[in-house]
Symmetry: D3
Subunit: 238 residues, 6 copies
Amino acid sequence: MRPSERAPEQMRTITFTRHYTCHAEGSVLVEFGNTKVLCTATVEERLPAWLKGKGQGWVTAEYGMLPRSTGSRTPREAAKGKQGGRTMEIQRLIGRALRAIVDLEALGEYQITLDCDVIQADGGTRTASISGSYIALCDAISWLQKNRRLKKNPLHGQIASVSVGIYNGVPVLDLDYAEDSNAETDMNVVMNEAGQFIELQGTAEGHAFRRDELDAMLALAEKGIREIMQAQREVLEA
Amino acid sequence: MRPSERAPEQMRTITFTRHYTCHAEGSVLVEFGNTKVLCTATVEERLPAWLKGKGQGWVTAEYGMLPRSTGSRTPREAAKGKQGGRTMEIQRLIGRALRAIVDLEALGEYQITLDCDVIQADGGTRTASISGSYIALCDAISWLQKNRRLKKNPLHGQIASVSVGIYNGVPVLDLDYAEDSNAETDMNVVMNEAGQFIELQGTAEGHAFRRDELDAMLALAEKGIREIMQAQREVLEA
Amino acid sequence: MRPSERAPEQMRTITFTRHYTCHAEGSVLVEFGNTKVLCTATVEERLPAWLKGKGQGWVTAEYGMLPRSTGSRTPREAAKGKQGGRTMEIQRLIGRALRAIVDLEALGEYQITLDCDVIQADGGTRTASISGSYIALCDAISWLQKNRRLKKNPLHGQIASVSVGIYNGVPVLDLDYAEDSNAETDMNVVMNEAGQFIELQGTAEGHAFRRDELDAMLALAEKGIREIMQAQREVLEA
Amino acid sequence: MRPSERAPEQMRTITFTRHYTCHAEGSVLVEFGNTKVLCTATVEERLPAWLKGKGQGWVTAEYGMLPRSTGSRTPREAAKGKQGGRTMEIQRLIGRALRAIVDLEALGEYQITLDCDVIQADGGTRTASISGSYIALCDAISWLQKNRRLKKNPLHGQIASVSVGIYNGVPVLDLDYAEDSNAETDMNVVMNEAGQFIELQGTAEGHAFRRDELDAMLALAEKGIREIMQAQREVLEA
Amino acid sequence: MRPSERAPEQMRTITFTRHYTCHAEGSVLVEFGNTKVLCTATVEERLPAWLKGKGQGWVTAEYGMLPRSTGSRTPREAAKGKQGGRTMEIQRLIGRALRAIVDLEALGEYQITLDCDVIQADGGTRTASISGSYIALCDAISWLQKNRRLKKNPLHGQIASVSVGIYNGVPVLDLDYAEDSNAETDMNVVMNEAGQFIELQGTAEGHAFRRDELDAMLALAEKGIREIMQAQREVLEA
Amino acid sequence: MRPSERAPEQMRTITFTRHYTCHAEGSVLVEFGNTKVLCTATVEERLPAWLKGKGQGWVTAEYGMLPRSTGSRTPREAAKGKQGGRTMEIQRLIGRALRAIVDLEALGEYQITLDCDVIQADGGTRTASISGSYIALCDAISWLQKNRRLKKNPLHGQIASVSVGIYNGVPVLDLDYAEDSNAETDMNVVMNEAGQFIELQGTAEGHAFRRDELDAMLALAEKGIREIMQAQREVLEA
């Protein structure tokens, strides 16, 4: 039995709130149950030094947790003077996943930065961040198009992400914190609208996982991602 | 004429939303018009090294802005590897103001940390932070009392804060960003429920201000703080 | 009774020693009693990145304490790897106060940096720094004029600064360390030669201060600043 | 055709040189073709603060590249003042993978640190690091046993790691730098001796990968890991 | 001809001013011509972690330059966030030299920190720092003795230091900045009262130096150090 | 008797292995007995900012120790976030010594960086680094010549370095760790092929050293350096 009493293949309630804050070119509050992440997309006309003059743009991401988004207070990284390894790992993942659906040449010499800030954490913040950033990125690109800064749409795909794992020996979908901290295996999957893999990161926490467990988790992930994509399309068409 | 069309002595709409997030002992979203700050209070049983074994507690604050809480993106301090001077100045002010109404010996060996994170900025983030942190602090102390960790209530006052300034030669109350960035003088005032001063910080941005201008600003501040305190009492009694 | 046996409205002896060191364009040792601060002004033909090409100059300040300027040794900020919040707060205040009397466009594309280094501390180092930096700034601007680098004098005012406070219930002028560390209220005031306010920073340390206490402190500050300005004029005319 | 003219399922030559340096409790030079990594294991009687007094030990890893292990010089992280995101990601992966085969309670209050320093890089440094660290860890644990510091062997498995990818549309095993930098997909796999997964990290660089491609890559990884494990056993029995 | 018109074997005027500031246990302004360094000695009852409980004390040094002690402004190390290599090299040298004449066991569990802060630089700041720190250290140890904290005098020697070099092909004593920046060779020598070497650091800047040049420089150094030691004894006996 | 049973004037076995790694323009493993340092030379077409456009090149060095090159593990400087004072001192010495034999104008606008990374430490790592870097530098300059990037050879000398000291009252050559950590005096000498001094750094660890001891140490150093230079010439001619 899952702590949340969900069925193994049952997602938490997913909501996307667009235009959550007023300044950013894209601003989305994404909720996977009690996990709440604010994803903003910022368009700037400046590029990292190594990309200047190459006729292409860049998409990157930064991730942070508000100190008390977690059960006990997480020290503020700005006060510690550096971002931890987990933060770096997550923001590299988010940026990489989003670049997989953007034609950087078609984007032109713009940089789009996705800031994913966790307001409240209950497991799955990185997969929520990716799923929400997709909407924020869409809005930022629409903003560029409305302002006639792009010749063609640089977006060539849709992505979403979900976590799967083995909890008490059972493959389950969309782990919350109670499950995540006790799961034997935890896997984050990013897929595109064709059901292909963008990123796959599986870690055995308790014991190594078998091939059949991997297959079961992948099937759950595909189901979950289809549902998230449906929610993404609905909010974008709203 | 103020950009917002408010009268000179008119505050923006002030709202406090308690229990905004679920993990913290106190969690308040404070809004002064479009300025939105999440203030959380965390209770911990650990103290700064220099206070250990002295039989008293500590109240401190940290402040941060989400990168895109502002009109153009503010680089993330965690990524830059240090907190800037403005951040330090503000968080020192918030902590000092709150300590002014707490009997640290009555608090016992607990530390309460107020995290003020700006979700959306439109001027007055530090005065909103102080005003909202007061509520979060009340809730954290109630939590300690409910859990029978305190012998007596360490809170011995109420505080609130507002900004005043000279805009186009006219003293005005509660400046928003459009005013703040063009004000000739900007002053932040923290007062207690007896109308006494906890903190007064006035800066001539454009030209030096005269004594009569100071007096006019102080009168406006007193009026504004009375209104904020009324709102604080209402939400605490709700 | 004040620890120093001064009358409540009595300043410490103020001295300014110009040309204290030989390399800087302005170099002043300022003494407020036992507080000794070396203020140097450096003229450079480089500007912060965000000011380049805007046809104006910049005035900024940095502050530091020698490790053993204080009663017990203060760890060296260079060794700790960062400047603390107090340092940042003070150097931001010094820079802001000096910019209030400089026409940055008339200064042209020069940057003047005021370095305020505390040789010996006995309270009031920030107000001494501001009062001494004014002389160093005058000397730096004279140097620019003598070298025919300026078309017109960018200085359009005189500033000085002093601290006031409530000590044992009595408003007093120019607090030394023994008073400052026990004062109920501490206020730093920066004024110009017309008696107008440039900066006002009051903090209730022990208990909140009343409006009549504020008025008494402001009257003392005005008296003290008039005396410092007299001393400034004398040394500049020498 | 692969740049190295290897067949798709062909590994590079793998060698492990034990006792490569003289001070460490375990010291192994691992070579995957031209990739050379020095893996040392250090046993210490000190633990991270959060583990003290819990009656268990810890296994952790650090990773670094010599500045000119790469085609063009990589700036030294010690000189830059921080470890980059890639470094953090890799050293977290190595530590996690090794902990998967260690019973931390049986280890007692010892910390074993695996330092993986890349002498020469030609792709696959993280998988070589994991495969070599396994040998260094075995040697460190033998050292503890020889010195009668352990009651029972805390090692309960064998691990090895290899990379697989899609290069020019073809699934290939053990990518070198020429392939890695042009691969469409890159996946790092860590398995134990039972053929179960410890870690799986797949990234679509060029285009998303399909389920059948994933299956082909996993089959190659399993084959490669079997060969590495054979080499590990041979060198440990030597 | 030397720029200063001094004879090759002629020192600059050396002065030591004791009790230059009021808080430190030892406080000396040392002047070698226009080079002015404030050396303070601080006694503390805390030791570096690695020395605790070993029944001995420690002597260490820190060095800094005020930003405008030099001809053009040197950026403040506290603002840059780290001490440069030159600073580290110098402070390590000062500490090492002073430890050579202190019996650390006889010092007991005290740490003495010598802070050498350059007020005005004109060459030879490190040799002035060592020569001045010797006096400050004597005063700090006298302070410990007067306060009956020591059983016996831990000082067992006298040290002084001077620079020598080859300028325009001629060996010269006590280089000022004009010489130092053009010298072909620069050597810093620390000796004790018996004329033995504590430290010798010679660097060929322009061309390598011959053995006979080394011998000539050492003879000059010995002469200079004798003169400095005479001045040290006079000021200590005053 | 020396711990290694060497005669006082006996060097350890010296070997230089060229082309030790494949990417660098110069790559040498230098061994002084059990001390092993990898010295690589990197040629880049970029210069430090302060040298740009001056029509000359630059030679610089960086030094590091692998964490377990030493008897007990030395914390990784990249993880600590800064290079220590010893590292800075050594890398400054290496760079300075090599610049002494390079005509920087003849080098043109290239920077050559010598990275000296200690694989295994047994005393004398800095002198081994200098001696090995000389070979790596020769190879890098040959590479530039082969690629027709230089009009004339900028190398105008040969350097080598060795340590000497007083051990148990006897002057000895080429100290290993067992001697170095117990030596009364330790001196590092860098000489050129004419037997002239490039750098001389002597430190009294236990007691001050006399002039006759200095002379004896210099004679040993000259002998040792002649032998290292012979080995350098042999490997360069191979």
